[in-house]
Amino acid sequence: MMFKIAKYIIFDILKSKVLLAYTLLLAIICTSIFMADADVTKGLVSITTVMLIIVPLVSIVYATTYYFNAYEFTELLVSQPISRLHILMGKYIGISTSILLAFVLGVCVPIAVFAFSTTGLTMMATGALLTLSFISLAFWASTITRDKAKGIGLALMIWFYFAIIFDGLVLLFLFLFGDYPLEKAMIAIISLNPIDLARILILLQLDISALMGYTGALYQQFFGSGLGIAFSLILQLLWIVIPMILALKIFKKKDL
């Protein structure tokens, strides 16, 4: 049943122009970066910068907007013999498949064409996970609020917090407590932000040389062992699962 609902949502989204615009935006950014720069690694670095900002923003705002725009459709579905779990999961699958499709066409394809490498694959995987976690967050923001304006407002705040404020706070924290041994604390803190987790996974590819040094044995052990990669991946999965579980809990009790 989830997949049936997902199917109809995907058909519906594919007919709208917003997603096409997003796909084109990503494709143009990625392709022009690769065209402009002879050095592939530098291209990947530039794309990382763009990706870590734009992908979460569009994912969360688009998913929230779509959630509210299709609110009446949700009402219609709820009045039908379908469980609410399937309705919300169907919506999630539908929306995330559509946005992922845009991501694949806009980012993965250019990377595969111009920079097929471990780093490229890592970026594809983390970008996809990031998309999913911000759609999860969008569902949480959508179910916890009642109207579209509040929902989108909350979605933007979530994005702004994770994309910009969070790292600023971490930096401030480091300035204040830099004298203490903070290596372990830093790993814990970073895991509180899905964007940072994605960033770390890409760093492990792009800047392994720097991560291996300077900050002492802990990062080296942690990241050198592959444990770091597993850790980041699992936490990113949690960032997909937990907001969605919360959204489901709210949605099950929600009055439409």
């Binding site: 002879a38 050095d39 690694t41 530098k42 670095v45 990382t48 910068t49 870590l52 900002i53 994309a163 910009i164 790292d167 600023g168 971490v170 930096l171 480091l174 300035f175 830099g178 903070l182 290596e183 830093m186 790993i187 970073i190 940072d196 960033r199 770390i200 890409i202 760093l203 792009l206 800047d207 392994i208 040389s209 720097a210 991560l211 291996m212 040094g213 300077y214 900050t215 002492g216 044995a217 990062y219 080296q220």
Partner: protein
């Protein structure tokens, strides 16, 4: 006259027609030691394939000793294997293995002491404490050897170890699994080239108090602590590759108290720090490639009059870092991939200067933990702002003529 003839008849064969002595496991002579005892200066000893015990065989005559089919000289972990004290000796084509290990003496596979014009070539030195150990010697050739240490840290000395020597050539050797791959102390006027030194516990090349040496076309890869060149003058380092030397305080190339030296046309790839310079003076660093390093170069503030010219800096996490100011050093005509200036007059040189020390690099100096924030939006933003309105990064460190495109064929 007759007497003279008689003397000539007796001695000329001895002096001019050198003899060849064959050692074989099932032959008349079954050990190198016996062969050396029988031989005279100028003789050739041929050792056939087979396994021979060799407990500190002393070569004290001018001999050419050739292995056929890689005969094995085994010291059985009891002694050194070969010691050469005569001039004009050549040892070629042996497997020399299992020297004794220990903290009391530097036991070696092949030891050269107080000698000259010796060639050690095409040997495989396996599981020796030290591989080839040269002291108080001159005009030595060490060619095409393979030194593989035990790969156990406590039982590893240096692969090729030189002490108080001069005019040494070390060419085309492969060293791995030792403490230091190649070790120089008080070695002058020597040439190290086309060697590969990798996966040694400490340094790929360790260089102390050795002036006027050249090393080129070597590869130093994935060594425990990279390469260290210290307390020396007039060193020329060209066309080498330094790669994958990873870890805190591990450097592709560590320079400490080096002066009047030249570092050019080298490749520094994927090192935590490409080049680290401490108390250096008058170093010319030019035409090198720095790719994918954590820090391409780290120059401490006690370095003076060094020039960084026409290098490529590509895909490094940080290009330059320092612990203070670098007023007395000079950057020019380098290619920096992070440069975002423009070139209105199309002369290939950016119109605004590039500041290779980013604000974030400065922050990293203070708070190493902030490595975790690399490439985050906030850091990128701070760096961008700092580049447009510099206030914290040292004004002195700038490349006023940054290249727009990378240098080719470096």
């Amino acid at each position: 006259m007759r007497v003279l003839l008689l003397v000539l008849c007796l001695f000329i064969p001895e002096m001019l027609i050198s003899r060849t002595i064959v050692v074989a496991p099932a032959g008349k002579i079954t050990s190198l030691k016996n062969a050396v005892a029988l031989a005279k200066d100028g003789d050739t000893i041929i050792v056939k394939a087979g396994k021979y015990n060799s407990f500190n065989t002393l070569i004290n005559k001018q001999l050419t000793i050739l292995g056929q089919g890689y005969p094995v000289l085994d010291a059985g972990f009891k002694e050194e294997c070969l010691t050469i004290t005569a001039h004009h000796v050549k040892v070629d084509g042996f497997i020399v293995k299992n020297s004794k290990t220990g903290a009391m003496r530097d036991y070696a596979g092949i030891r050269l002491h107080h000698t000259a014009y010796v060639t050690i070539s095409n040997n495989k030195l396996l599981h020796n404490f030290f591989g080839i150990y040269v002291s108080d010697s001159r005009n030595i050739q060490i060619l095409n050897n393979e030194c593989k240490g035990s790969a156990i840290q406590m039982e590893s000395g240096n692969g090729i170890h030189l002490w108080k020597s001069n005019h040494i050539t070390i060419k085309n050797n492969y060293v791995t699994g030792h403490r230091d791959g190649i070790y120089f102390e008080f070695v002058k006027a020597s040439l190290i080239h086309h060697n590969l030194s990798e996966k040694n516990f400490r340094y790929g090349l360790h260089f102390m108090f050795s002036d006027d040496d050249v090393y080129q076309y070597n590869t130093f890869k994935n060594n425990g602590s990279g390469v260290a060149v210290m307390y020396s003058k007039r060193i020329k380092m060209t066309n080498n590759v330094f790669k994958e030397n990873w870890g805190s305080s591990i450097y592709g190339l560590l320079l400490k108290d080096i002066s009047y030296s030249q570092i050019s046309n080298n490749n520094f790839i994927r090192n935590t720090t490409g080049v680290y310079m401490e108390a250096c003076e008058e170093i010319s660093i030019s035409k090198n490639n720095f790719n994918n390093n954590g820090w391409a170069i780290r120059v401490l503030a006690n370095c003076i009059n060094s020039k960084f010219i026409a290098n490529n800096f590509i895909a490094n996490s940080f290009d330059v870092s320092t612990n203070g100011t670098l007023n007395l050093n000079h950057f020019e005509h380098n290619y920096w991939d992070k440069y975002e200036g423009y070139d209105l007059n199309k002369n290939g040189i950016g119109d605004i200067p590039y500041r290779p020390i980013s604000l974030y690099a400065q922050i990293m100096e203070q708070i190493p933990q902030s490595v975790m924030l690399m490439r985050s939006f906030i850091i990128n933003l701070m760096d961008k702002v700092e580049r447009s309105i510099p206030s914290v990064t040292p004004e002195s460190v700038k490349d006023v003529q940054p290249k727009m495109k990378p240098w080719k064929n470096l």
